[in-house]
Amino acid sequence: MKMIKNKVYLAVGAVSIGLLGAVSLWARPPFTDAQLANQQQELLEVVNKGRDLWHGSNPDMSTNGLACGNCHPDAAASNPQTFPKWVSEIGSVAPLRDMINWCIVHPMDGKALDVNSADMVALEAYAFYLYRGQSIQPGLAMPTPPDPVKSGVGFPHKPSGIGVDK
């Protein structure tokens, strides 16, 4: 009886796989190449805005002249891929945006951003973009480097405008 059941399952499985294959042949990709390129461009514009904010473009974020980039060049030691995690300064498990606001309020002595504001999205986009390709490790305490810029290579021939070499 058990063997017959298994055979039935196998048959059902085979049919299902066949159907999935057929569907994927018929389906169109959800976006055209032009649309994908446009979406990426939209992202990079937000990343670029985040880079400017990271380096002091919003004066409300600081009253003592400090910007995120003073202590976190290339978003170093911001480790966005380790959030949410326990943040001692906040006293709870918190997402990156709460840590960003903690830095704005304390070391930078500025006014916290609305966590849903376009500026906060841009700051997060910048940090996450520089750490793209890193595995997501919520809670990891050890710092990991941002998207590595090779030591010894020096500077890009053309400024990318987003603080990365490639």
Binding site: N64, A76, G154
Partner: protein
């Protein structure tokens, strides 16, 4: 990290623990081979034991009672309180954040509280608003050398870049802002350039190989992390000019962190800033033991401080004087440089 490096590091740290003296450990693995002998010999020729202080990277803003003003004043107090007292204090660049006159004047005023004479070289934050005009007016020449108790000291301006502003039509303020951003890809690499290389050649020409030499620059004289200008483009030429000496001690600012390296006869140590610590860049280090603890952002003093350097028959020992408890046990006894 390779097994061999790991073994070296463990042996390094193990010896440091056993001896209770990091300085002994460094000598034991040959980091500073020959230095002890050199300075012992020189003692006979007039090298007398002494100590000097290093303060660096205060990044003062044009804001009254800014927290960095207090940090610099704390460093001055710290260095003044050292026993035995220092013969002079070296400032290795970046008094100002935006190169403004009021920032440089404020820095000079706070540093005037030092009991010992002050020697200064510029950093990029001091320089690019007016290309060093105010800095030179306040602190004199940026390229110099002097002899003290048998040791030859050299200061160079290592933050000179190629002209990126004229072609781009930048204002002085735009030029300064570009230089202020550590990871800006626009400005390109720093260096001391031809005139200072020529100064250096002439300066050391008549010195004997056994003369202890200490050289100060804002940026390190080795290729640490070029993207953040943790390097000096013409450092290979500098090392070549200084290669005739048995040993050269290179001390630098800019990196805002403890760091040690050795290339040939030149050993280098970076300095703690009085403003903020920088994370270690993603670089595999030859001497990873020279890294301090990761800084706690909630402690406004963590990862900052001043340093002192003792020179005696045993060589040069750079000791970090942190404001908070930032040092690993390994770093607490200082680095032989």
């Amino acid at each position: 990290m390779s097994d061999a490096n790991e073994l070296t590091r463990r042996r390094f740290l193990g010896l440091a623990g056993q001896a209770g003296l990091a300085t002994f450990a460094v000598s034991a693995i040959g980091v500073n081979t020959g230095l002890v002998e050199v300075l012992s010999a020189e003692t006979k020729n007039g090298v007398q034991p002494f100590r000097f202080g290093i303060i660096t990277d205060s990044h003062l803003f044009s804001i009254d009672n800014h927290k960095f003003d207090k940090s610099l004043a704390d460093a001055v107090k710290q260095v003044n309180a050292l026993t035995p007292a220092v013969d002079f204090v070296m400032y290795t660049g970046d008094i100002a954040q935006n190169g403004r006159e009021d920032q440089l004047v404020k820095g000079k005023k706070i540093l005037s509280g030092l009991k010992a004479p002050l020697k200064v070289i510029p950093g990029e934050h001091d320089w690019y608003l007016d290309m060093g005009k105010v800095w030179n007016g306040l602190f004199g020449k940026e390229t110099w050398s002097f002899d003290h108790k048998g040791v030859h000291f050299i200061g160079l301006n290592s933050i000179l870049v190629r002209d990126f502003w004229t072609g781009a039509g930048m204002t002085p303020l735009e030029r300064m802002s570009t230089m202020e951003m550590l990871e800006s890809p626009i400005a390109g690499p720093w260096g001391v350039r031809d005139a200072q290389l020529e100064f250096l050649r002439k300066d050391v020409k008549k010195l004997s190989a056994s003369t202890p030499v200490v050289i100060f620059t804002h940026s390190p004289l080795w290729d640490y992390y070029p993207r953040w200008n943790f390097q000096t483009e013409d450092a290979p030429e500098i090392r070549e000019i200084l290669s005739k000496f048995d040993h050269v001690t290179a001390l630098h600012g800019h990196v805002h962190q403890t760091i040690y390296n050795k290339i040939g006869n030149l050993s280098s140590a970076g300095a703690l800033s009085t403003s903020w610590p920088w994370p270690y860049p993603p670089v595999k280090l030859e001497y990873p033991g020279s890294q301090m603890n990761q800084s706690d952002p909630a402690n406004t003093k963590d990862g900052m401080g001043s340093q002192s350097v003792s020179i005696d028959a045993g060589g040069a020992t750079a000791t970090y004087e942190p404001f908070a408890n930032s040092l690993t046990p390994f770093l607490k006894d200082g680095l032989k440089v």
